[in-house]
Amino acid sequence: MSYYFTILSPTDTPLFNIAFGTSKGGGDGIARFRFPETAQYMNQFIIHSSLDILEEAQWTNGAMYLKHIDTYPPAAAYISAFLTPSGARFLLLHQPPHLPSSTSTGSGLGSSSLLGSAGSTTRASSSSVAANPTSPQTEEAVRQFMNEVYENYVKTAMSPFYKQGMEIKSPVFRTRVTAAGKKWL
């Protein structure tokens, strides 16, 4: 499973980006997306395209963690969202590894042109979190991850030197998010 995590300000400015891979089930924590290295912007495209759905869901569900809100079948990308009360959006794109036998996701078929180098780096994963992006275990793991990031985000926001809408540059914050990813995803 590979992850791409973004924090967007209420005015849709990206504040923070990170890509990482699963650490569960023997994963090494390195992201291996199905796009070739040169097409990493696809992640951003997919994440930003889910904003419309997020803005709809935001007024029907009052919870902070909105769970899995959007799917982009051609890339088998699943998007989970978390909304802070002050309007910052945390979006997590997760993409299960491409299995050559392709039993878990039938939706990966249309993306053959995008696969590129991904075929060489696939690895079978037995962990429940990695194998099934919509299972309750995954939802729970993502929720825990989001809550931990939220805690660190609040700490950032409480800093008198931070104004809402500023990019989060703190390396400590990045380390913390990486650690949260390692712990839960």
Partner: protein, 253 residues
């Protein structure tokens, strides 16, 4: 919240920096080793950043009223420089409060989510975090109750809806004795001024953060018993009222 770490950063600078360059270089080298991507980052001498401090640590801490009064007095003086009139001054106070509202909102939700002790570790016990306010009434209750308690240690005194049919978008929150005005004596020629415009700015920040476009203003409404009684007039924008109707029809609470 972040004041103490900042303070200790300055301490470490002044400690290490006095014998010109020697120890200072060493310090930066050390930091470069631990945090390779940012050689310029300064970490306090106890190596604790704001991320190492628990957000609930100061939850029940009380702030000195004297220092608050002093600071707030200075803020008013600062805002008063080069202003053209009372409205301008109130606008500046409002702008000072606004970012505070945005922050408090996140803090408020964080604190009500995490059950005091097991906040960091497995937070699976805190089963139902509070919901983001979607409707006007829930938002106003949030301000009237939890926000006021966080700021002043008590709830606000009244919450009313405008009775006039022309202004259904106006709500009033009343504070009989606002803390911010306790030590402010307004000169007679500026009797219209209410320094609680700062608190109005906080309210505006909270509403805006939740996605409710609002204008909030503070007004003096003295009574015999409460000479500094202040009414915060909350005026929601048209977009909010429209959405409110849609949400009401679809039964969102």
């Amino acid at each position: 919240m972040a004041a103490p770490p900042r303070h200790s950063t300055m301490l470490s600078i002044s400690n290490g920096g006095t014998p010109q360059s020697g120890p200072n270089d060493k310090q930066t080298q050390q930091q470069a080793q631990t945090l390779p991507q940012s050689p310029g980052l300064r970490v306090p001498s106890n190596r604790k950043t704001i991320y190492d401090r628990h957000l609930n640590r100061s939850r029940n801490a009380e702030l000195s009223r004297a220092s608050f009064a002093y600071l707030f007095g200075e803020m008013v003086t600062y805002a008063q420089r080069r202003v053209t009139g009372i409205q301008d001054l109130e606008k500046r106070l409002n702008e000072q409060g606004y970012p505070l509202g945005l922050r408090l909102l996140d803090l408020l939700f964080y604190r009500s989510t995490s059950t005091s002790s097991s906040a960091l570790s497995s937070s699976s016990t805190s089963s139902s975090p509070p919901n983001r306010p979607l409707r006007i009434i829930t938002l106003l209750h949030l301000i009237h109750g939890p926000l006021w308690r966080l700021l002043f240690g008590r709830s606000a005194d009244a919450l009313e809806h405008s009775v006039s049919p022309d202004t259904p978008n106006e709500y009033m929150i009343t504070d009989n004795d606002p803390l911010v005005n306790t030590y402010i004596s307004v000169p007679r020629e500026m009797s219209m001024l209410n320094c609680a415009a700062f608190v109005a700015g906080i309210i505006e920040g909270v509403c805006d953060g939740c996605g409710f476009e609002t204008k909030v203003s503070a007004h003096n409404q003295p009574t015999e018993m409460w000479p500094s009684r202040t009414v915060f007039l909350v005026r929601f924008g048209d977009s909010v009222m429209e959405r409110e109707k849609v949400l009401e029809r679809s039964g969102v609470k």
